[in-house]
Amino acid sequence: MGDTILQFENISKSFFGIHALRDVTFSLERGQLLGLIGENGAGKTTLMNILGGVIQADEGTMRMKGVEYRPRNPAEAAKAGVAFIHQELNLFTNLSIADNIFIDRFPRIGALPLINKKAMRSRTRELLSGVELEVSPDTLVERISPGERQLVEIAKALGFGAEIMIFDEPTTSLTARETEQLFKIIEQLRAGGKSIIYISHNLGNVLHLADEIVVVRDGAVAGTGDKSEYTIDKMVSQMVGRDIDQMYPARTAGPSDTVALEVKDLSQSGIVKGISFSLRKGEVAGLFGLMGSGRSELARIIFGLDPFERGSVKVGGAERKRYTPAESIEKKIAFVTENRREEGLLMEAPIFDNIALVAMPDYTRGLMMRFVEKKRIFGAVGDVAESMRIKTASLDRQLAKNLSGGNQQKTVIGKWLLSKPAVFIMDEPTRGIDVGAKYEIYNIINDLAAAGTGILFISSELEELMGGCDRILVMSNGQIQGCFEKGDFDQAKILHAAFKGHKKHGVA
């Protein structure tokens, strides 16, 4: 335990009269890792943006090494030694690693404005070896994996004298191996005297890494303490402000015997091989696997977005002819993709337009031109929004891009609900969503199952699958490596199956 390197004193910030942060006070010691947790919208990002110079606090002071610290822009924060490793990496895919690292401070040849490539390359190699990344400095960033890109960001931060590093959701796009490597680097950073603020929804990781934990709720500090004082339950209850005795709501009904979806021997070279399973009505089947095991690819193939070479998919007993998204929807299959912003939502459109998108053809009449029955569909959309508890002032004015992650995801799910699907494929439906909203989504899944929908629940969080599924299928390397029934859920065994055949470097 060394000296205090960073202090937040009574930091407050408001946007349009709404308090985003209220009197936030805590401190960070040198060489310490502080886990900053809280629901989405609790104020973590705002706080870090203030630290990183992106915005300024309204009240309060920050002190670095005892001296007042008030950066007016990211450049000043960087100069002061603060490095912000964002969730969305700020790398340029069309440039090399070296170019990326030196993008605003290229070494020159003497007095000429020309770049000294040799010096740049050797310095880059040094930095890369510091994070144990053995790739040539001239490699284009688009060719390296997300995990490697993150290491490049870390290398860049280190190269410029960062003393305080902020990690915002660093593991979302990483494979298991890359996560291991990241943690190792983080250890090295701590040993080297760097101070770290680690933000993540993966409470297990936070508990594992942190020395100190700070819980933020509704813009204020809801609790702080040493790691030893915390358990996951305590973290959750402080984040949410009430006791959650159960993370996962109880199921009200079990699966029926009718088969809703039957996949037989589905194969596409290099992607999936020999996939066979059945999904019953009212069943929640989990699909677990590490990043890169082929789960999302499988979902896309079943839904008709990507082609396959062999095998078949039967819905409700009937074999499919054309495998396209439109046909899948006709056959009552729904698909919530893993990236709602790019593939799930019309960000610039209001909630209404989004929820109405899939089912709209069902609300039309007319022969040549299909006229939309506005009243009927508005009523239907309103019902869905209400049933999902999407909190909004106005369904047809509130744009999707201004919603919280939880509400956005509910909008996507609502869109599919309106089409009354028989089979619902959900890929990482709770990713990037806070605990409260997660609970609501688990409820929605339960209700769907109780109503007879067959659900394929894809996730990398084993706990949530174990908490809510009737069955868990495990995929690894494009194949199904195991299937576990509810009574036999065993974390170790499932993980073992997930690692089976898992190559040293995960993805190609």
Partner: protein, 324 residues
């Protein structure tokens, strides 16, 4: 292998057109022909290089044609009415081009109006201004300038080509070897990330438009030096030609991808080669634009095909074991 082919489409396309025309009209392969093609391509290439800068930042400059016209007119009128020496005329020409580019840059970065709209307006206004100055009449250029257009360096290389080569070298070095050059690529790739990385994106984009304006006027001057006269329609439509040349050379309209050499150079020469080739193979004058259009269509089609394939090849690939 396929990836290599796909990444070098401009070169392959160039070679293909070259060979085809050569077969259809063996006279195509004569040196004099090449010299003419490259000489013709020089002024267009200079402008296309400028356009490449702008396209790299994911922007567009529709005003280069009007810029060419206005700059040439300014120089021409000065010579005609005030008998200024050639180098002064050239300086004025470049200054006008520079000012034109600076205005575009200002409206885009400070007034925050999108490039398409800004350069569309300056396209209108610039040409109008030029026409106003000339009262729509052509402006002839004196012997001295025309001699520049036809003179040769060391008696061997035509001056227009020399100027083109110099521009290409400078531009290439600038884009590859200076901080601003690399930042241009960064801004074109992801402007938000660029801002977060501390890059002054306004300055970067402004630079691109200013360079484009300057090169447009230089290209105009080189063209006028060969034509000897500036007509009311001078430069009309050149923005499209410059954009096509850059795109054929591999520059993406979405920014961040492309280069001056070999890319834009090949693109420009390719277009001129097609025109020349059509003349050589004695294609009906009225059919030429049709064939040109078809070839360019095909080239852009190849480029789109390449993009789709490259995406597919580099997509997440999971190796499935062949055992069991």
């Amino acid at each position: 292998m396929l990836a290599v082919c796909l990444r070098n489409t401009p070169v392959i396309l160039f070679a293909a057109v070259f060979v085809v025309f050569g077969i259809l009209a063996p006279r195509f392969f004569q040196y004099q022909n090449f010299e003419n093609i490259v000489k013709q391509a020089s002024y267009a290439g200079i402008i296309a290089v400028g356009m490449t800068f702008v396209l790299l930042t994911a922007g567009i400059d529709l005003s280069v044609g009007s810029n060419m016209y206005l700059s040439a007119v300014a120089a021409g009128l000065l010579i005609k009415n005030y008998n200024v020496p050639v180098w002064v005329a050239l300086a004025v020409c470049l200054l006008v081009g520079l000012a034109f580019g600076m205005f575009n840059a200002f409206a885009i970065t400070k007034l925050r109006i999108i490039p398409f709209v800004v350069t569309l307006s300056t396209l209108f206004a610039g040409r109008g201004l030029g026409l106003m100055l000339t009262k729509s009449r052509p402006v002839p250029f004196p012997e001295t300038i025309i001699r520049i257009g036809s003179s040769r360096l060391f008696g061997v290389v035509p001056l227009p080509i020399v100027i083109f080569v110099c521009v290409v070298i400078c531009a290439h070095v600038f884009l590859r070897r200076t901080q601003m050059g690399r930042q241009i690529y960064a801004v074109g790739n992801d402007i938000e990330a660029a801002k977060k990385a501390g890059i002054n994106t306004d300055r970067v984009r402004a630079t691109a438009y200013i360079v484009c304006g300057l090169l447009a006027s230089l290209g105009g001057f080189v063209s006028v030096a060969q034509l000897g006269i500036v007509n009311a329609g001078f430069g009309e439509g050149y923005e499209f030609e410059a954009i096509t040349a850059a795109v054929l050379g591999g520059t993406s309209l979405f920014g961040g991808i492309g280069n001056v050499f070999p890319g834009t150079v090949l693109g420009t020469v390719l277009i001129q080669m097609i025109s020349a080739g059509l003349v050589f193979t004695q294609v009906d004058l009225y059919i030429q634009p049709l064939v040109e259009g078809a070839i360019i269509f095909f080239a852009v089609l190849l480029d789109s095909f390449r993009n789709v394939q490259l995406v597919r090849i580099s997509r997440r690939h999971i190796r499935v074991e062949e055992t069991a």
